[in-house]
């Protein structure tokens, strides 16, 4: 042994240090953080141990927040495109806020006074849809959305139209009690730390963790079972699992009878407007066949014993079959047998059977029972809660495909068959969900309202259509929105189609707009498909010599590639310098056992001339005298964003923040505005959580105490009713009828649109090859190409971080080693990667843990030279690349479909990023370096020089 000794150690002087609590903003997980400041500097950022989301832990991104705060890429002052310079050249002059706001509000006022739809306002990775959506509605433009259309809408819409809550935003797995957990298509994303925390719990308890993912990194690295599936075929795998469950008879009859529409009767009357709709009684209620009374009965009746299978003749003579009969007929067909699908999805038949049987075993033979008393909506009190402890979670690997909507519904079908939803050990809902299926909000679709000057919309721009009448189209079927959301081409586009805005605006399709306002969305780079094309369209001029998109406003906190294209740049604050409300009205931080929201408040001063965007929105709304922001006497209603959050009420007693409401601050979830609400949050570590009592925690969709409470506090609509999950989706059938020409109402006007609806609006989930695959020569592009977000970075937003970029400042294309060897490719080879749309050049790396027909890279590592405060020869520009160059926002033309189709899911419009098919070819000798390359962005006026050596120490 070596000798030991103690020596005196230098001590840190903490006399100037203070502790604050706020919310992280590196991704949309929104963990609670404890920030130690020293004077005006940040000394340390750690997780808040008391916070319900992260309970003290913090990921690499959050832990590197100091370098986000200290980045030289921070914007410093409003900018105007230098007079005489071209858009996209990146030449700016600094202007004062007064000038910027005057300029913008004057332009907006003019738009509003002529045709409000001329404003397109789209928000990227923000967390304030409730405010920006309200603002857009008040302004009167339907051309608003956040970015869900290119992100997660497939999961949201599939969930909200099927089970009443959804993967991704509105639910979380029960890691404490699950005995079998299946992760579908999930790599690092938000819900980041809760998944990490949860996986450890699962493994410690001996639960089995299966990861279905083409790549074995991150979460999949620690999976007990890694199932490398071919991208885009998860739906096939899921429905094959359904096949096995039905074949074995291992399904939960009780759950299906009581909580789903499995027993509902579907009219079989081909060629008529009612074909495929639910048979209903005189009161309009769906009916079932009651085995007890041997008669038809209201499906919602308390004591009904519905038949799950069968066909009967209705009183009016038409035939009707149960939903489950239709489902069984389809999924028991050999098309979905494991032996049939194995080659297509790349998963052996034995594995498919084993997965299904393991799930069934755990669900039915290892059920958990909690001694919790609860009452259901039919008034029955139960002494315990039984859980079938199979949990699932799914994200981008399912969503980012043109068959993602149906695939997600297929996953929900598995859950419904197993009776594994919102019970102990399941995927559970997070407040304000579950809600009615679907939530009853409709998008504004009245042209008289949409184009009326100085008039707010009557409804919100986004919503959940349930029938063709609710689409946002003109009488002749042309879309009324710039992104074509809620049109025949993308009917259930509940989150808009942000990825089509620039293309359509540049093509004046369906009409020209005046101003495009982008908040925190890097559309000129990694958030767009066809990056080069989009950049060209942003600078395209029409015949008159004007820009096809006349005015572009970019709001951001950092010098992104998109900032270079702005005509006006409004600089935002960083997350440590602002107020924010992470609201139940928005994308909440609730957990299954607690409704929760949170705030941010300024921790450090803003040492530059920037303003929080929400304040600017309130200011603009006030100047424009938007009604919700204006008092009856015409004066300003809200001084600023803080005032708005405290005093705005969506419904009586319902505001953006749920905690410490009421004049005395003692009401939670509902109450009068509390002028000291911000202070109350700050005193309580910047978050509020309302924990459900045990009796309300499970089966919320049928839990009387929960639903009545939820209705009283506007978390559920009026009246509270049990939510019946929809295996068979009637809204889809209505659209299908419109496509078939039988719907008694609006129908598509083109044969191609009819065919799309008739094919893809199947009321039962099914699998089809991704649309890109259907339209290219698949053997010319044999490989699937996808991306993953790395754990230390989130989309574009971390290359300006001096610490995080040391982990990743360049990227390779990863290929299966066996596949590469067969092609004569080796590590570090320069290769051309080619799709139907374009080509790029990059370096290759081989690995074992990737499906044999898949290549992938880290998302958004490549940057334009000069952006993000980086040197023009930074590796991000010289050795990083984007896969986006190979992806078109449009599908290749097809013979039978003359329309230009969005490269998207035909139901929701979700951008189909991962449908990409490529071939990889070794580059010729001498063909080295990443390609394409872009000219460097010039530095912004007033930009701070980046140090060549950093010795950060907070003092």
């Amino acid at each position: 042994m070596i000798p030991t000794e103690d020596r005196a150690l230098p001590r840190e002087d903490k006399s100037a240090q203070r502790t604050h609590y706020t919310t992280c903003y590196m991704c949309a997980c929104r963990c609670g953080i404890k920030v130690t400041t020293e004077g005006e500097e940040v000394r340390f950022i750690q997780g808040n141990p008391a916070h319900p989301i992260n309970r003290g832990v913090l990921c690499a991104k959050g832990s590197a927040g100091i370098m986000k705060q200290n980045s030289p890429a921070k914007l410093r002052k409003p900018l105007k495109r230098k007079p005489g310079s071209a858009r996209g050249a990146g030449e700016f002059v600094q202007i004062e806020w007064d000038e910027a706001l005057d300029l913008l509000s004057a332009r907006l006022a003019k738009i509003r006074a002529t045709n409000p739809a001329q404003l397109a306002f789209f928000t990227g990775r923000d967390q304030m849809q409730a405010l920006s959506g309200l603002w857009a509605q008040q302004f009167g433009t339907p051309n608003w959305s956040a970015h869900g259309g290119f992100c997660s809408v497939n999961m949201a819409v599939a969930g909200l139209y099927t089970i009443g809550f959804s993967f991704w935003e509105f639910g979380a797995p029960d890691f404490d009690l699950a005995k079998y957990f299946v992760l579908w298509g999930v790599a690092e994303d938000h819900s980041s730390n809760p998944i990490k925390i949860g996986l450890e719990k699962l493994k410690r308890r001996g639960a089995k963790f299966v990861s279905i993912n083409p790549v074995r990194t991150g979460y999949s690295a620690i999976a007990d079972d890694w199932v490398p599936v071919r991208p885009g075929t998860d739906g096939l795998l899921a429905l094959s699992i359904v096949h096995v469950l039905l074949h074995d008879g291992t399904i939960d009859f009780a759950f299906l009878s009581r909580h789903t529409n499995a027993p509902w009767l579907v009219v079989q009357a081909p060629g008529t407007p009612d074909d495929g709709l639910f048979a209903r009684d005189a009161g309009g209620n769906p009916i079932v066949f009651d085995e007890g009374t041997r008669a038809f009965a209201d499906a919602g009746g308390a004591d009904v014993r519905p038949a799950l299978f069968g066909t009967w003749t209705l009183p009016d003579g038409r035939r009707a079959t149960t939903v489950l009969s239709l489902a069984a007929e389809r999924y028991l067909d050999s098309r979905y047998a494991p032996a049939t699908v194995a080659a297509e999805c790349g998963v052996p038949a034995e594995t498919i059977e084993r997965l299904a049987r393991e799930m069934a075993h755990v669900a039915f033979k290892e059920a958990v029972e909690l001694p919790i008393r609860w009452t259901d909506m039919w008034g029955r009190t139960h002494d315990s809660v039984v859980g079938r402890p199979v949990a699932m979670y799914a994200m981008r690997g399912i969503s980012a495909h043109s068959n993602g909507f149906h695939t997600c519904r297929a996953l929900h079908l598995i859950q419904m068959l197993l009776g594994a939803l919102d019970g102990p050990g399941n995927f559970r809902a997070r407040a304000p969900y579950p809600r009615r299926i679907p939530v009853r909000t409709l998008p504004e679709n009245d042209p008289a309202v949409i184009f009326a000057p100085d008039t707010p919309l009557k409804r919100m721009p986004n919503g959940n259509p349930t029938k063709p009448e609710e689409l946002v189209v003109a009488a002749d079927g042309t879309p009324l929105r710039i992104d074509h959301a809620f049109s025949w081409g993308s009917p259930l586009a509940s989150h808009g189609l942000m990825h089509m805005v620039i293309t359509n605006a540049a093509n004046h399709d369906p009409y020209p707009i005046d101003t495009l306002l982008l908040f925190m969305a890097n559309m000129a780079w990694n958030s767009s498909m066809n990056t080069t094309g989009v950049r060209e369209m942003l600078t395209r001029r029409d015949e008159g010599g004007e820009y096809a998109i006349p005015f572009l406003v970019v709001v951001d906190a950092f010098h992104s590639e998109t900032v270079g294209f702005a005509d006006l740049v409004l600089p935002d604050t960083t997350y440590l310098e602002r107020h924010d409300a992470i609201s139940l009205l928005d994308r909440p931080i609730s957990e299954p056992d607690a409704a929760a929201d949170a705030i941010r408040h300024p921790i450090v001063p803003t040492n530059r001339d920037v303003r929080p965007w929400q304040d600017v929105l309130v200011e603009l709304a006030s100047r424009l005298k938007l009604p919700a922001f204006t008092k009856p006497d015409g004066s300003r209603k809200f001084a600023d964003y803080k005032d708005f959050i405290v005093n705005y009420e969506k419904l009586p007693g319902i505001g953006f923040l749920a905690g410490w409401r009421g004049a005395d601050g003692k009401s939670h979830l509902r109450g009068a505005p509390n002028p000291k609400q911000w202070e109350a949050y700050i005193e309580n570590q910047s978050f509020f959580a309302h924990h459900w009592p045990d009796s309300m925690r499970y089966y919320k969709f049928a839990n009387r105490d929960y639903l009545e409470f939820a209705e009283k506090h506007a978390l559920f609509g009026t009246p509270p009713v049990a939510v019946t999950m929809q295996i068979y989706s009637e809204p889809l059938q209505k659209f299908r009828l419109a496509g078939q020409g039988h719907y008694a109402g609006p129908q598509p006007t083109t044969a191609a649109d009819r065919a799309r609806l008739a094919t893809y609006f199947d009321p039962l989930p099914f699998w089809y090859p991704p649309l890109e695959t259907q339209r290219i020569a698949a053997d010319e592009y044999p490989l699937h190409a996808i991306t993953q977000r790395p754990m230390p970075m989130y989309h574009a937003w971390d290359s300006q971080n001096a610490w995080l970029r040391q982990i990743l400042s360049a990227n390779h294309l990863y290929m299966n080693r066996g596949t590469a060897a067969a092609q004569g490719l080796a590590d570090e080879d320069w290769v051309w990667v080619e799709s139907h749309h374009g080509r790029l050049r990059c370096r290759l790396r081989t690995m074992e843990g990737v499906e044999a027909n898949t290549v992938w890279t880290w998302n958004a590592i490549g940057k334009q030279a000069g952006a993000w405060g980086l040197a023009t020869d930074a590796p991000e520009a010289t050795a990083g690349f984007l896969l986006n160059h190979l992806i078109s926002e449009l599908l290749p033309k097809a013979g039978d479909d003359p329309q230009r189709r969005s490269n998207a899911d035909p139901v929701t419009g979700q951008a189909a990023w991962f449908d990409l098919r490529v071939r990889v070819v070794k580059a010729a000798p001498g063909e080295t370096g990443v390609w394409p390359v872009f000219p460097p962005m010039p530095p912004l006026p007033g930009a701070v020089a980046a140090p060549s050596r950093l010795r950060w120490s907070a003092r």
């Binding site: 007990d224 079972d225 034995e350 982990i807 990227n811 074992e848 590796p875």
Partner: protein, 321 residues
């Protein structure tokens, strides 16, 4: 390891200087006729100069030299500390020895310092070599051949330099020439045996051993003991360089290795051999031969560094050390 010039130069010059000092000590102690007595102090001074030059060169390797004076503190455990202490003593002793020689001092005093100088010179040679041989993470250094080779090569350099001085003077140095030949043969043998020893992969560590997960995994759905599986690096955790990759990640191209090896044999071994055999004693030739030999040793030392594969390379993806 990246061959740092300062360290390479240090060991070559220092080794040569120490060899010179050890041999001049012997000349003085045993009254050997190899050098004229009036030449002895110059030779000693040259040895001292080479040693000091080498030691000074080594301090260029320090990133924070103002703490260099502390380097004697851990004598009990650190070969570098010991080398420092003994170097200081050696320099003092050799300086005294040289001064005594210059002054023509008392024979027993000279003999005393000769013994001291020889002993210290040998000690410093061993300590220096043990700095490298004592490092367990570097398999190519951790062998008795390291100190043996350094000892032999140092004496070879010293003997050649002394021979050069001697023959320029045309003193009676036939035995010294024989000693040089013997040392050449020894050097060849020692280096050849060294290279053979480190080529053997018996004690090489593997990436699998380094990360400690050699037991592999069991494919899903199967049972039984999983067989040991091969590991490879997927991602080092940084896409740029780090201190570790700079310091330990040096990769010598095959042809560069060939060049260095050739330089060692040709310049370090063959050239002196030819020179001694050819017996060309003109000053320029002497200087050239000694310079060539030292140049060859610089190549050998550089190879010594370049061939070193620290275990940290396993963590960065090397399959074995």
């Amino acid at each position: 390891m990246k061959p740092a010039l300062s360290v390479v130069l240090f060991t070559v010059l220092s080794g040569a200087g120490l060899g010179v000092l050890a041999l001049t000590g012997c000349v003085a102690l045993f009254g050997l006729p190899w050098l004229f007595p009036e030449r002895l102090p110059h030779a000693t001074a040259l040895g001292l100069a080479l040693t000091v030059a080498g030691l000074l060169s080594s301090t260029l390797h320090l990133a924070n030299p103002r703490n260099a004076w502390r380097a004697f503190a851990r004598f009990r455990t650190s070969w570098l500390s010991r080398e420092g202490v003994f170097s200081l003593l050696l320099v003092a002793s050799a300086a005294m020895f040289a001064a005594l020689l210059y002054a023509g001092a008392d024979a027993s005093l000279r003999a005393g310092f000769a013994v001291l100088t020889i002993a210290l010179a040998w000690t410093v040679l061993v300590c220096t070599a043990m700095i490298y041989a004592g490092l367990k993470p570097i398999r190519q250094w951790r062998t008795p051949w390291t100190p043996v080779a350094y000892f032999v090569l140092g004496h070879l350099s010293g003997a050649l330099i002394l021979l050069g001085i001697a023959r320029v003077d045309a003193s009676n140095s036939v035995r010294l020439a024989h000693l040089c030949l013997v040392l050449v043969v020894l050097a060849v043998a020692v280096k050849a045996l060294y290279w053979r020893a480190i080529r053997a992969p018996r004690d090489a560590l593997t990436l699998e051993q380094a990360i400690g997960v050699p037991q592999g995994v069991r494919p899903a759905g199967t049972s039984g003991t999983p067989t040991a599986m091969q590991a490879r690096l997927f991602d080092a955790g940084h896409t740029g360089r780090t201190f570790l990759t700079d310091e330990f990640g040096f990769r010598l191209a095959r042809r560069h290795r060939g060049v260095l090896l050739a330089a060692f044999w040709l310049l370090g071994i063959v050239a002196p051999l030819v020179w001694v055999a050819g017996a060309w004693w003109q000053t320029p030739v002497v200087v050239a031969a000694c310079a060539a030999h030292l140049g060859g040793l610089l190549a050998e030392r550089a190879l010594f560094f370049a061939d070193a594969r620290h275990t940290v390379r396993l963590y960065h993806g090397d399959a074995r050390t």
